[in-house]
Amino acid sequence: MNKFTTDRRSLLKGGAGLLAAAATMSGDELLGYAKAWAQTSPWKPEPGAKINLLRWKRFVEAEDVAFMKIVDAFQKANNVTINVSNESYDDIQPKASVAANTGQGLDMVWGLYSLPFLFPSKCVDVTDVADYLGQKCGGWTDSGKAYGMLNGKWIGIPVAATGGLVNYRVAAAEKAGHKEFPKDLAGFADLVKGMNKNGTPAGMALGHASGDANGWLHWALWAHGGKMIDKNNKVVINSPETAKSLEYVKGLYENFVPGTASWNDSSNNKAFLAGQLHLTTNGISIYVTAKKENPQIAEDMNHAHLPPGIDGKTRELHLGFPILIFTFSKYPQTCKAFTAFMLEPDQFNPWIEAAQGYLSHFLLGYDKNPVWTADPKTTPYRSVAQSASTPAGEAQMSENAAAAIADFVLVDMYANYCTGREDTKTAMASAERAAKRIFR
């Protein structure tokens, strides 16, 4: 009991430290800075501009607070209005799509994955913003470029990503014989198996969970050398490598907690926080919540990248958050200015600190942010952009690759095989057909 209180106290202190860091720039200071920034900015907001911005609904409250502070400072400094509306992950895309189709309602969308690639012709060319930020903030990672560029032109700015990394309970992993997190595929399978044997099972979503399920299953495919499409967008999913990955995933699935085939993006968070799940892939949100509500779990958990594939390379699919500007916006300069302002070190640093690891940067300069080292448990999330691939894999990110993700082609293939609905050949053949339908 005594030990518990000190732990809690130190955790609280840690939390307070973070908050203090996030608040280094007070509202007034930020406004003063914003005014000065506006003077020198290469983009001059249209007078009296009114922007409608749609963003995904926050998972970490402090992140949202920090974001709104940036919005507020920008509004005051430039005398413009930015209406921010929030929608849950699943509703962002339909809303953005409707706006793109009807040509009204929204000026900017801060969405998920590959949103700009669903309607590239409706996105303003933001190459100037990307170049400006790249120069100022240490350059873009390759995954950043892949998420933002189409045919040499930036159609969106990848603001950040939330890493889908392994969240695991340290004690349970140790009990299963892994003092250190496994560094290869076999070790990882062994860990999952051992944990199940001890009654502290792992579980990763195999249902229609756009973030969680797509994330780890793409890793499983790539880790075994499988690919949905090759460099020329030819569908090559039906391959011996894919078959191997199916086998591997089935081995994991059989040792998962029951019900993963029905999981959505929030199922694993709930189960983990209730102490019923001991390993999963997720953003850092479980840890952030646990620190507040369930310190014992926070104390006993840690994060790690999924193990590298058979070629020794780690390629993961993380949930990228690109921001785009619609071509039909009447205020493109304001939108560009805001995008650049948001990602400037003076705004972006306190913001990612407030996000406590939930937002990982695509701009290499932000590796230095103290949020990644203050708590070693957040450190794995620093390198999210380095290990990230777009859903297209080796190919150029495209509308079609975005559609394949949204249509759960890969998730269905694995789920079909794991639940025994289809055998290896049929599962691969159906996925191949579904992919060909999309990449026709």
């Binding site: 793109a100 309607f119 229609h208 029905s262 789920a415 639940t419 609905r421 159906s430």
Partner: protein, 319 residues
């Protein structure tokens, strides 16, 4: 009808053959046309036009954000050998059939119960409506918790009672998932059937029952030969609506399973949304939606031709 004359024929005759304008001016049909126009415009604008647009879209490769070009039947050809599409057709038919039959059976039973005299009649009748009043998404979220793989109250209770050892995999196993969504749909749909049938029951004259009782008819005979035949037109209407609502159900499935596990609960409506809106292939989504039309027309035809064109409606005996 057009022969009814309302204007003054004397004057018209005096001027010889009436002009077209004056004939129109006095024609009731012509006036009726104008009175109907607002309603017709409304229907065309909000029903016929979107329907036509949807069908047209299904013959194009339109995507979100860009116009499509005409590609003929290509979307349908791809659907024709798409296992997921056929699975969704099967699911939709199964879902509609099972849910509608159960809803009808429970609804009718409930209506018969509620038609009796009992204390707090009005209150009980309004309580029955509750599932229907709750917004679908809210009840879907409640069911989502009830069926949760880890936190299901049903699994929890049964485990505490010592009846089972593991959580029931409500939404993770294909058959359980189908059963679970059908149960949720039935729960939601029963009040509509029950209350409408109750309204129908109340139009049946009590004197018929009195006469039957005097003739020594049993409960079953009274139901079979009085209640049922007199209720048939209402049943036809209620079941048509019930089938249509169930067939096109979307919210419940989307909130509960997103069509999972492994597409075992994907209905045509949810698949159409996933393909059309979520992955941006408007043309293909429209094709799936259009493919629902023949089924819906068939359902309407069965109800109306099968149950409505009974002889008794024209005043003769029901054979």
């Amino acid at each position: 009808m057009s022969t009814v004359q309302t204007s003054m024929p004397v004057r018209a005759a005096a001027a010889g053959e009436p002009s077209l304008w004056s004939r129109l001016r006095t024609s009731r049909n012509w006036a009726a046309l104008w009175f109907m126009l607002p309603a017709a415009a409304f229907l065309i604008l909000f029903l016929a036009y979107p329907l036509g647009l949807g069908i047209w879209m299904s013959f194009t490769d339109e995507r979100i954000g860009r116009e499509g070009v005409f590609i003929g039947l290509e979307n349908y050809q791809w659907l024709w050998d798409d296992a997921i599409f056929w699975l969704s057709v099967f699911n939709t038919i199964l879902y509609t059939l099972v849910a509608s039959i159960i809803k009808f059976a429970i609804g009718l039973y409930l209506a018969l119960l509620l038609n009796r005299h009992m204390p707090f009649k009005a209150m009980i009748r309004s309580i029955v409506l509750i599932p229907f009043i709750v917004p679908t998404v809210l009840s879907a979220i409640a069911f989502w918790w009830i069926y949760d793989a880890q936190f299901s109250i049903i699994s929890w209770s049964l485990i505490k009672l010592g009846l089972i050892e593991h959580n029931i995999n409500f939404l993770g196993d294909s058959n359980w998932a189908r059963g679970s969504v059908i149960f949720a749909n039935v729960w939601r749909g029963v009040p509509f059937v029950a209350i409408t049938l109750l309204a129908g029951l109340q139009t049946v004259s009590p004197s018929l029952y009195e006469a039957a009782t005097l003739d020594g008819a049993t409960n079953w005979q009274r139901f079979r030969y009085i209640t049922y035949p007199l209720l048939t037109p209402i049943i036809a209407v209620v079941m048509t609506f019930s089938v249509l609502f169930t067939f096109t159900d979307f919210q419940l499935i989307w909130a509960l399973t997103r069509g999972g596990p492994v597409n075992a609960t994907h209905l045509m409506a949810t698949l159409s949304y996933q393909r059309g809106i979520i992955s941006g292939r408007l043309g293909e989504g429209a094709a799936i939606a259009t493919a629902m039309i023949p089924f819906l027309l068939a359902a309407i035809a069965i109800s109306w031709f099968g149950m409505q064109r009974r002889k008794w409606q024209q005043g003769s005996n029901n054979d």
